[in-house]
Amino acid sequence: MRSDVAQFDLSAPPSLDAVLAQLAAEPGKHTPIAGGTELMVALNTGRLTQHTLVSIHHLKELRFLRADTDAIHIGAGATFTDIRRSAEIAADLPLLIQSASWTGTIANQNRATLGGNICNASPAADTPPALLAYGATITLISKAGTRTLPYAEFHLSYKKTVLRPDELVYSVSVPRDFAGYRQYIRKVGTRNALAISKIALAGLSRLDGNKITDIRLGAASLTDRPVRCSATEAALLGKSVGPEHVDATVRAGRAALASETHTIDDIRSTAKYRAAVAGNLLEEFLRSLAA
């Protein structure tokens, strides 16, 4: 049943500083709302438990894309449309463009923000696998200042993150120099478009001849949170994708992936299916490196 909107309050302080002051004054009381593509659905279906919200959608301080030599810095308030329209992201971070295009419809991409997608912390969110594979860092901001950490450390468990009640995500910084890397991403859902992931895998790899000299893997819907598959990466580092060795490399990769991840059962799929398809995606990526 729909909620009674008269029971909810929403404010829109004029600046980022004013929002942070409000969060600091009463930590946990105010729930930030950006594009509303998640929280308004909860409101419309009677599931929104937070009754005091603070809008951050109008904050220009959070809506930016800035490229420097080493990285592209994406403000938490940048929408998926902003990301898809960035020539710099398209040139250097194609996996992020691809995953942004998967994130809902055009109307939702016009509203939904990268920060909201990350803070909603769904294990099935589309952009985290790419951000994890690229080795992004995330900057959090509060009245007390900012802190920056590897994005891989942001998600703690199902829908739980390191974000404190007085903090907002300020930006995500993505290293941009992947010249010489092969890039892979694939999402498996119920249908080709506008479906939430059953499983998704993003991969980056650099080769010296047939030898894997760097490999990074990020996955969605595999475990209870978006996850970087570090043990699988370690198992594959230094392995060969040459014709005589690729089968053994695939076997080693699949075994490592199966042992490091605890696949989940949920409404969209089963752990057994996810484990099998995750292995298939990894195999597809590894065999593409040999080609």
């Binding site: 909810f8 829109a12 919200l53 939702n108 506008l194």
Partner: protein, 155 residues
């Protein structure tokens, strides 16, 4: 309650409404612009799509306070002086509308699409309208309507 000032279809409006009231309900209940339809109420179907500062959005997911100071265009603002917009004319002539519930959203999504891609490929049309569900016609006549509108330069 919050005082909201916005421009709807070119006309300035001042409203005192709950800040979390949906733009959809503000349009339908406070401004009596019932051309914008409610379908799913979850941002899946696009029946409530409008243009907010020129960008396509689902009005069921936009709280009233976030449109303060904005420009909104609804289906009522697409035609001018009682004459159908070329996009509407193409939907009419090509059989792109049947029961009519999805049509306002389809027309505004087409408007937005042709604004960004005046000569869209079929794939761009499909992506541009992927967030608008129709349960009557199937989509072929709708795609044909959009292609015809693009030929007329109807953004």
């Amino acid at each position: 309650m919050s005082l909201i000032q916005l421009t709807v279809n070119g006309k300035p409006q001042r409203l005192d409404v709950p800040p979390m009231k949906r733009l959809l309900d503000l349009l339908r209940e406070d401004l009596h612009l019932t051309g914008t339809k409610e379908g799913c109420g979850e941002g899946e179907c696009g029946a409530c799509a409008v243009l907010l500062d020129g960008e396509l959005v689902n009005s069921c997911l936009v709280p009233a306070l976030q449109v303060n100071g904005s420009r909104v265009c609804t289906i009522e603002g697409v035609s001018t002086e009682g004459r159908l917009h070329p996009i509407q004319q193409c939907f009419l002539e090509r059989g792109g509308a049947q029961c009519g519930i999805c049509t306002p959203g389809m027309i505004l999504a087409t408007h937005h699409l042709l604004d960004k891609h005046p000569n869209p490929t079929l794939e761009q049309i499909q992506e541009g309208l992927a967030g608008n569900l129709c349960r009557c016609t199937g989509y072929m006549r709708i795609f044909e309507s959009v292609q015809e509108a693009a030929k007329l330069g109807a953004s």
